[in-house]
């Protein structure tokens, strides 16, 4: 059963959002995508801080927003807590008062402070505590309001790199304990890995893919997710038939192995599967392309080589190999790829 279900369209100047998102009972979902993809906008639609042009939002089967039927539950009655990037703590209240605000003045405040190890800070004001502590207070405040769902908007965005890791694991432990369905918005793949049991990838106002992180890495459905998994990624057109076939990306034709598919497909390729040579090779590889080196990026003992082979193509070779090939920008090389190296999926 879906705890949280969202289907929303919203047109803003220079940006259109059209997203469908489903979070299952008791799961933590990461809403992951580049800056400007519309992640925060989607969160504010769920929380009720803004209204979609068209759409339906339901929580535990209860409609929160249904533009067709004129339903728009105000944010205060949605039982969805939203935790902002910098915590958005009330600066005029103490830590205890902040948490009590969520608990509606109830007795739960002190209990939450203790559970999150904040009891010693109860009398402090938000500006007197560290950024990591502020995030914990914000979480305590959100959980104290006994939300049916919790939304976290870039919860580590305001933290410096050194505290980030610690706070990230702290928050995850608390969330696991709290068992509140959670959607966490992030553009950081590490956040998504650590927090998301499932990940929804958002690009340009759309959810392009939902699944576990390994599912997404295995078969990304958009350039952003593929880039993070370190894969070459193309939208291709697959010839009909079975077994060895041509997949066309623009003017380039790759030979790939695929069954039960044809037409529009995704094509992913691990850069390590690309072999480079100075002379035209005579090996068993099905795909041999002449390419120009655009640039080189040294990653420890390996070198990432970006090529122009009619389509953008990345290869990863060892440092020794790169030196032996005298690779430099502008250099002409031959790239060979086995047909079996391509992942083909729809």
């Amino acid at each position: 059963m879906n705890v949280l279900s969202v289907e929303a369209a919203l047109a803003l100047p220079g940006f259109a959002l059209d997203a469908t998102l489903e979070a299952h009972a008791g799961e933590r979902m990461a809403l992951f995508g580049p800056s400007g993809a519309g992640k925060s906008t989607l969160l504010s639609l769920i929380a009720g801080l803004s209204a979609p042009d068209r759409g339906i939002v339901t929580l535990d089967g209860r409609p929160l927003c249904d533009t067709a039927r004129g339903v728009d539950v105000p944010p205060s009655r949605r039982r969805i807590a939203l935790m902002f990037q910098d915590g958005a703590l009330f600066p005029h209240l103490t830590v205890r008062e902040n948490v009590a605000y969520g608990a509606r003045g109830g007795s739960g405040a002190m209990e939450w402070l203790e559970r999150l190890g904040l009891a010693a800070l109860a009398a402090r004001r938000p500006r007197e505590i560290s950024g990591g502590e502020r995030q914990r207070v914000a979480l305590a405040r959100a959980l104290a309001s006994k939300p049916a769902a919790l939304l976290l908007d870039e919860p580590f965005g305001a933290l410096d790199v050194t505290t980030r890791g610690a706070v990230r694991h702290e928050l995850r432990a608390f969330l696991e304990e709290a068992r509140v369905p959670t959607v966490i918005v992030t553009h950081d793949p590490l956040d998504a890995r650590v927090f998301g049991e499932r990940v929804a990838v958002m690009e340009a106002g759309r959810i392009v893919q939902t699944g576990t992180w390994s599912e997404i890495e295995a078969a990304p459905r958009g350039p952003f997710a593929a880039g993070l998994a370190g894969l070459n990624f193309w939208n291709a057109r697959l010839d009909p038939g079975r077994g060895l076939r041509a997949a066309r990306v623009g003017a380039v034709e790759f030979h790939v192995l695929a069954d039960d598919l044809e037409g529009e497909v995704y094509l992913a390729l691990d850069p390590e599967e690309v072999t480079l040579a100075r002379e035209a090779p005579h090996g068993s590889a099905r795909n041999v392309l002449e390419a120009t080196v655009r640039d080189l990026l040294v990653l420890g003992s390996r070198v990432r080589v970006r090529l122009d082979a009619g389509v953008p193509l990345s290869a990863e070779v060892t440092r020794q190999a790169a030196e032996a090939l005298f690779l430099a920008p502008g250099q002409r090389v031959w790239a060979s790829i086995k047909a079996t190296a391509f992942r083909v999926y729809a």
Binding site: L12, S44, S50, F84
Partner: protein, 268 residues
Amino acid sequence: MIADGRQAGPDRRTRRARHIVWLAASCLFVAAVAGEACAARPITVAGAASLTDAFEELGRHASGQTRVEFSFAGSQTLRTQLEHGAGFDVIALADSTPMNALARAKLIDAPQELARSRMVLVAPVRTRAVRSIADLGRPGVRVLLAVSAAPAGRYADRVLANIGADRALGENLRRAIEANVVSREADVRAVLAKVALGEADAGIVYATDVEGAKGRVRVVEIPDRLNVDATYWIATVRGNAGPEAAAFVRFALGPEGRAILARHGFRH
């Protein structure tokens, strides 16, 4: 960031409107200053508020070579202004008291009697509440007088004192009228204006004031035995005034001036 179309930021249209207002105001200011600078120095005549209409006509006829500018206000305001160095050339007030004070202080030349007026009751044409002086004391009637510092206020106080001393009307009526006074206005023109607007049921003003509010106020005569003579005095200001100022005073006191004042209801 949470995007929200319903939240407001600075409004550019308002800002543009403000710029336009600033521009317009600056243009008006520059035009006014430039216009002022072009004219030759006129003489300034300070006149009691009740002389406004008569003096403006006087100014049109007397002008000749020099331009006459007026400053109309309550007599007590003009007196204070002159005492503190206002650049008047001629002053005409509605009572001998402030004139004598100015003369004693050697600020003006010997005052000359300019004209006389009488006090009358005025009432809005649309109401019938006040038809005689006795009606002023009826419950709920709203009476306006000028502030005691103004001559018209002092004259009104004297009319009330006369009512109190009158055998037929008596002290009780005077007290009832006092109780009905809802405001003491800054000058006599304010009394007239608010009666004309219908905000008060009656006011005591100069007979000569009524002209300007004809059609909107009714006049109820105050019997002679209760009435007082309001005397207007005129004088040139010492040290400051040139021959044009003396000429204006002569014109006002001469046959033409008298005729104009008479047309506005003043007596001699």
